[in-house]
């Protein structure tokens, strides 16, 4: 899969994941995202996963870790657009995303980040 674009819009970093990632790709994405925050700080990070039909335990951890790392760098993170079926699976499997803020869609995520500033 080609590099996932890391976009900036009005001071917010936006990453849209449209396809399932391999573990390696997920780690790469995490690294590039944090580097981009180091180069220029941002008001917040939005990770949209509305394109995903499956979220496994590894990717779940990547999301959790990324949010925690970005927080250490002073930037809040919001994961948006988890599909209902994915939410059910995560909960049933006991995969915990409670330390990551989640919103239904990108709009809401942006609204939440703005409210934090």
């Amino acid at each position: 899969m080609a590099n996932i674009p890391i976009l900036r819009l009005e001071g917010y970093v936006i990453v849209s994941i449209q396809d399932d990632l391999s573990d390696q790709e997920a780690e790469d994405l995490q690294k590039r995202l944090l580097e981009s925050l180091a180069v220029r700080t941002a008001h917040g990070v939005l990770i949209d996963v509305s394109g995903l039909e499956i979220v496994d335990s590894y990717f779940c951890r990547i999301l959790r870790d990324t949010a925690a790392m970005a927080q250490l760098m002073g930037v809040g993170t919001c994961v948006t657009g988890l599909a209902p079926a994915v939410a059910v699976t995560l909960t049933e499997l006991g995969l915990d995303l409670s330390m990551v803020h989640t919103e239904g869609n990108l709009d809401r995520g942006l609204e939440w980040l703005r409210g934090r500033d």
């Binding site: 988890l82 599909a83 079926a85 994915v86 059910v88 909960t91 989640t102 919103e103 239904g104």
Partner: protein, 286 residues
Amino acid sequence: MANGQPHLSEAEIQGLRDVIELSRANRTSLLEKRRAMVEKLDPALLQPIEVEEEQSEEGIRALEEAVDSGDLTEYLANMKLQTAALAEQGLEFNVIGQALVELIAPVVDLIESTYKDDPPRVLRAFKAIRFLEMAFLLAAGSAYAGQREENLESEYQRVIRRLSTPVINVWDEVLVMPLVGVVDSTRAQQMMEQLLERIAAAEARFVLVDITGVPTVDTAVAEHLIKTTKAARLVGAHALLVGISPKVAQTLVRLGVSLTDVSTFPDLQSGLAHALSSLGYDVRRS
């Protein structure tokens, strides 16, 4: 009688043997009557004459074997299975009963005409055939009762599933899911999926799960509710648990269930008020 006493007396055995002999001797005419009866009942059930011949021969043979062994238990069990099959095909009980009467009438006529000079024998054979009739009716009765219970049970399940989890849009971005009745894991699962779909579709920010109608909340139910709350949060909505009665509150605390991660309210009204004020609505009389 038939089920309780599968072991036969000497007289009953003699009577049954007479019935068997008569049925054999008059096979063709009995078979014709049977076919006429079946055709009247449901033409779709009518089979080729060779098959019917085989079946009636087999029926007689099975009865003969049972009589020879003096133990009808297996014969009766088989009869019950066959009636259950008829019940499954959707034949009504009274239709089957009517068919039985019509099947037996010609045999009774035969007994009467064949043994008319020997009244004790007529009586004996008549008793035997009554024994079979009763056994058949008992088997049919219990098969039907079982069938009916099964049908009712699955119908009941279907109705509950259909009615169980309405999700109501009470305000912009606010949903209410009233739970009524017993929450088991199948229902909880289905309830969660349905709720999440609706949250995503309505872009809801608040979901009020009303458990006023849930009679008992035990650890398993509480677990389901906590899961639902977590899943709702993943798709971007706050789930509030409302309608917690004093009794339920007592039970939960005694069970040691922790609902600290879930916002709870005593009734729907206070939950709704909280949701609306969080959304910035100012609810007051003008």
